[in-house]
């Protein structure tokens, strides 16, 4: 097998520093947003006692789900021994760690008492899915970190497959945990189903790979290193399979719900009468997030790299829309405590809850994205994670 040379990106160019500064600015905005929310309380957000998880959760959960998906490429290389993917694995692991860090930051900085993080680290209730997630996230950092180490240090290289396999199993459990944050809730109609765990896993495959492809292409374009079509074509086909699977899960989920009379009302809300949520579902999640990317990825359009990038961007946008519908749409629909009766109160019972995200919430969420991208940019500058070249000839040699 031909050997691959990994090299740090130069990172001395104006372009690199400008991009770093750009992301840094958003990290700063995120920090200021947190400070503002923490000082004044959640009263300065769009959240209230009806919509208790708002835009920060949309970004946080998206990033956490995408993080485990970003590890796909590395898993294919180590667990399934696909040689072509081996040179792509270190970036995959780094991106997974970076996205996880960004998502977790948003999650913990949106706590009502983010200053009490240490309490969450020292007091555990093992019946809570949140507690399990604390361990799953920590374990993810540990295992993916070790995995990255085995890829970078030749003295421990022989443990790479074992570490990769452990990280792969862990990320499946982790996303099961993320989906089950909602799956284990009895109160709201759209939650409380085992469907959410596998659905989140398949979504993580799609979102994570889409982000990975964009970062990969950007890194190679930015550094002027050759990146052949063989790699991109193989990965875009995989991405199409993931997106189709997401669509399948979403269709089965809603069709099953529609079959039950008690779910008709809430399904009608999401699919037809929900205003912004209906729009985000059909236009965002389905058309932008699934249908258009599938058209691009499965037709001749995807022979051009720019179209693959557009498809990836659409998948990310669709993914954020999906999280918005999943997290906020489900809360906007009123709790049905007395089925069949009209409910009225001073506490918004019986009415659809409105939610307008505030600027600090948006900035906190975007700050999470910025942290992830900043960490990735920094990582590829200080560590030898990116192959010096991935042109078709180099890649072809790997497989023979």
């Amino acid at each position: 097998m031909a050997s691959i040379t990994f090299r740090e990106v130069d990172g001395g160019s104006l372009k690199y520093w400008l991009l770093l500064g750009f992301f840094g600015l958003f990290v700063l905005f995120g920090a200021l947003a947190w400070n503002y929310m923490h000082h004044h309380g959640h009263v300065v957000t769009g959240m209230d006692n009806q919509i208790v998880w708002g835009l920060p959760h949309v970004f946080a959960v998206f990033l956490i789900v995408a993080a485990s998906g970003a590890l796909n490429v590395a898993s294919i290389a180590s667990v399934f021994s696909q040689k072509m993917y081996k040179p792509l694995a270190p970036l995959s692991a780094l991106l997974a760690l970076a996205l996880m860090a960004g998502g977790l930051l948003v999650l913990v900085l949106d706590l009502g008492r983010s200053d009490r993080l240490i309490v969450a680290m020292t007091n555990f209730n093992f019946k809570s899915m949140f507690t399990w997630n604390v361990f799953l996230y920590s374990g993810f950092f540990g295992l993916v970190g070790i995995y990255l180490w085995t890829m970078l240090d030749s003295s421990v290289k022989r443990y790479s497959k074992a570490a990769g396999t452990a990280a792969f199993i862990w990320r499946l459990v982790l996303t099961t945990g993320t989906g089950s944050l909602f799956g284990f809730l009895i109160a709201r109609e759209l939650y409380g189903t085992a469907m959410l765990a596998p659905m989140f896993i398949i979504m993580s495959f799609a979102y994570g790979l889409a982000i990975y492809l964009m970062v990969l292409a950007a890194a190679y374009a930015g550094t002027g290193r050759p990146l052949g079509d063989a790699v991109m074509q193989r990965l875009k086909n995989l991405l199409a399979v993931f997106v189709a699977a997401v669509l399948y899960f979403v269709v089965v989920y809603h069709l099953t719900n529609l079959y039950f009379a008690k779910m008709t009302s809430v399904e009608t809300f999401i699919l037809r009468d929900g205003g912004i949520f209906t729009t985000l579902f059909w236009v965002g999640q389905i058309v932008i997030g699934c249908v258009l990317p599938l058209i691009i990825l499965l037709t001749g359009l995807s022979k051009q790299r720019s179209w693959i990038m557009i498809a990836c961007g659409l998948i990310v946008l669709g993914g954020v829309a999906q999280m918005y519908v999943t997290i906020i749409g489900a809360q906007a629909y009123p709790l049905d405590m007395f089925p069949g009766l009209i409910e009225r109160s001073s506490f918004a019972d019986g009415v659809v809850h409105s939610y307008v995200p505030s600027l600090p919430e948006l900035m906190l969420g975007l700050g999470g994205f910025a942290v992830a991208l900043l960490a990735t940019m920094f990582g590829i500058k200080v560590l030898r994670l990116l192959p010096a070249q991935l042109d078709d000839a180099t890649v072809a040699k790997l497989e023979h």
Binding site: V43, M47, N49, V52, R113, M129, F130, T131, A187
Partner: protein, 258 residues
Amino acid sequence: MNEQKPMTEHPASPERRSFMGAATATAAGLAIAPGVMLYEVAHGKPDEQAASSAVRWGMLVDATKCATGCNDCVSACSTENGWTPAAESKHVKQAPQWIRKLELEDPLTQMQTNLPMMCQHCAEPPCVDVCPTGASFKRADGIVLVNRHTCIGCRYCMMACPYKARSLVHEPLNDTQKPDVPRGIGCVESCTFCVQKVDRGDGTTACVEACTAAGHNALVFGDMNDPESAISKRLREIPTKQVRADLNLGLGVRYHGI
């Protein structure tokens, strides 16, 4: 040349000595007093008086007696527990509501029903299950509470509660707080069955007192484990329901007339 004068030329005067003594005592007092005061004010009950599972506190709501337009239970709760009523709050949508009046209407028959809705003090509380830090907890006597010291404000309990009984304190609190009802920004709170009154031995809650005082008698509070308690007797006499009984949470609040 030495300008320093020997100490013996200026012995400490008795006045100075007593001043120093008083100052030391004051400083020591200031340092220790808060600890002493805290111990005095916020101490738990001795072990032998801890909440007991022999007791199951519960409430009966007779919706047939709950008057339209009457808000006395809500006002009494707000006064007793020191939360600002939503209508008086600057941020109505984000104001906490520990208890609220709910109006129900059957769209077919136009039958209207009034009832108060608050924490149902489940035997199997979903809020306690999901709380990552264990801040949400259920006492042995069935009262579901939030530990203000370990609540991190994640709001997972609010996502889990089928009754929307919980509120997050969204903004810094004004000075309406009561010494025996601790609250705090960024923490989640809800009806405590007036635990401070229960633990004082009042045997009732502010909402029940207000409803009784208004002559409606729609609310009864008491020990559901004691067959001789007023609530147990009443529960034997009239049919009652649990809201969302399908969830099988074993509610501490039972409704008649719904």
